[in-house]
Symmetry: C4
């Protein structure tokens, strides 16, 4: 069971490289096994070029290491908070993908400007507030998770409807029902960030799409009345 | 006959990936056989990486499936309206290519700023108006086709002279006399959208080219006095 | 002799594809044999993917075809004017490379903003004026060459010191002592156009570099006191 | 010993090509052997495509050639000044990477806008002042090094804390404890320059990150309390 999970999480990490979302060690993917409550995550600071599936680290949601010779990703505490707050999440992805990170550095929400966005994100992708000095100086990575949760709750966002966020002066987190889906959402987040960047350069006065277009495209692909794809 | 059509339509879909116009399932190509009135189109939501030529779906212009194990593209009704309105069209291409989609999201025409544009598009590439709430909530994909047709008619555009359009908050459609030509036009539309984006960043006051330059370049390549190429 | 010339010109054309300066048929390279006064050029509208070295067309400077089964590039008359006006030119390159074409569409000179530019172009890369209606409607391609020559003469530019130009609403021409050098200059022109684009986005008030920096970098690589490289 | 050094320096130069930081001859890497005081550097004007490890040139810090059939990089005197001023530096990298060079041409510091920057550069990446006419006309490359040193000293920057700089109207230099580290820093400098470019396009009013965020990210990866990675 753990070998299967480590294999899936390893493949998700490698997919980030293949999709040009990370260079060097700039990202991490984790995936959780709901039954056992254990999750696998990329080891800290290990280069993607030489990493092997068995280098993945397995932990429980208290952060105790269960398997693996390496220290887990330094962002592990952020992943844990997300798994604890949102049981429907099966995987978490963090990258510094360039357009999404630029929006994060600019401290602006990525507005829903079109149907590419609406097909995956049911509303603006929020830019979470900057952490305070206190939040940064103690338990930084845990507090990063708490600020994500705070943002989603304050804006009344169901995390499965908007499966990603950007963090002020940092970069994006995405998630999904499983590793495949979470990595897919991270790729889409970057594409949508790129289009939104160009959109406001062409027309700085453009506003978000009408709610009914957002509804149409999102529910064409999600929920019980969806008709996109083969199901 | 249908196998040949499915092969050509499949190749056109794959060419979109090879030219970096689509990722995942973000696009679709169809091609019509004029004699039988049947057309082949990409199946809905099937990934380009695993798709085979025999996965193409064949339909008639009333939307009845004639061959294929999958549901056709969710945008099929848009393709049908274009084939019904413009018998000279032999193929239709839809993508979310990044620069063209950004112009669409910005809700601005792509102006004819130079000869690259004029070689293929005899005037500005129009941005069709946004659909109304009513048009979106019933028969969305059919109404998308109708708004394309309305835009071309209102602007008195012959679809073979400007073989592409962008849809407000959505992305581009392109077409042509056959699949090869329609995909070519989709690639050029993206290149022209990219150049136009950079052009207005360098000089926001720039206006469209003079009519006589547009005439020269368009008719150098099209119509009875053309002298570009080997014919 | 002609086979050797055709081979070199063919390689130069293919190099444009390899360096991502052209797609489809959007460019052409010619090279001249000074002794015989004959030059080889890409055939018109032939796709780079299928083109063979023997498809190159050989002409004299009156435009008479000497060898080749195809019609020469539709831009042949522009090449001829440049060879006739500037005997020191051994090869001419035309592309629609994206950043240079965007500057051309914006109708702005590419200013000398730094040492990358100064290493190859001893001053601003001029944007030639738009052709008049009359110049476009008769002998368009020949008049394109004449406007390039007019621009260089008016600005007192030695074509070997600034081996490239952009044409209003069109794109770049570059040249050099031989095919290898002319293609190299076309690649550099695109890189310099890209950097200049980003430079003015970061700082719209930036001005061209000081003359003494331009002198230093240009003459470090060119002329009798050059000390760059192994000569 | 020298063969080992030449091999490492050669690999560093090739890595610049692999990471798309240089085309043609637009960059150079050197590495020093602290014990002997000898360093190896790329030869001047030799193309990356044909260069071999044995083409590297070995010199002492007075600029006397010890090994190699070629003339060393024309920027050798800049490298020498950096090695003499900062004994902790083990390697120096110069490129014309596109985004960093654009910031250099715009003559603006690359501000610390986020954690990607803070993970490697403990503060803004300075843009050194333009050289005077006198500095350019005599001992240009040596004076380039002196201006780098002057900038770091004036701003009280420890070169190991901010391992890179951009030079007005020119491009970036980066350095590090060894060749691998210096090339890594040059790649990151370009990525950070790209993100900063996009950040100010999205939000021109954005300011540098808070000092405590800079502290957190920099010291998470550097110094005695670091906890990133496996050490």
């Amino acid at each position: 069971m753990l070998d299967e999970l480590k294999k899936i999480v390893f493949d998700g990490n490698i997919e980030l490289v293949r999709r040009n979302l990370v260079i060097y060690t700039w990202g991490n993917v984790s995936g959780i096994d709901k039954e056992s409550g254990l999750f696998a995550i990329k080891p800290s600071g290990v280069d993607y070029d030489t990493m092997k599936f068995d280098d993945m680290v397995v932990l429980d949601l208290e952060g105790n290491k269960k398997e693996g010779k390496y220290k887990p990703s330094s962002d592990t505490a952020t992943h844990i908070e997300l798994y604890k707050a949102f049981p429907e999440i099966g995987a978490v992805v963090h990258t510094h993908s360039s357009y999404a990170a630029s929006w994060a550095q600019a401290r602006k929400d990525i507005k829903a400007f079109g149907t590419t966005h609406a097909d995956y994100f049911y509303g603006d992708i929020p830019c979470a507030r900057a952490l305070t000095k206190e939040e940064i100086e103690s338990d930084y990575e845990k507090n990063t998770g708490l600020v994500i949760i705070e943002t989603l709750k304050e804006r009344k966002i169901n995390p499965m409807d908007i499966p990603g966020i950007i963090l002020s002066s940092h970069g994006p987190f995405a998630w999904g029902k499983d590793v495949h889906n979470a990595v897919h959402n991270a790729v889409v987040l970057e594409e949508v960030a790129k289009m939104a960047y160009r959109t406001i350069q062409i027309n700085p006065d453009i506003t978000r799409v009408e709610q009914y277009l957002l509804d149409k495209h999102y529910f064409r692909k999600h929920g019980k009345n969806s008709y996109y794809g083969q199901n």
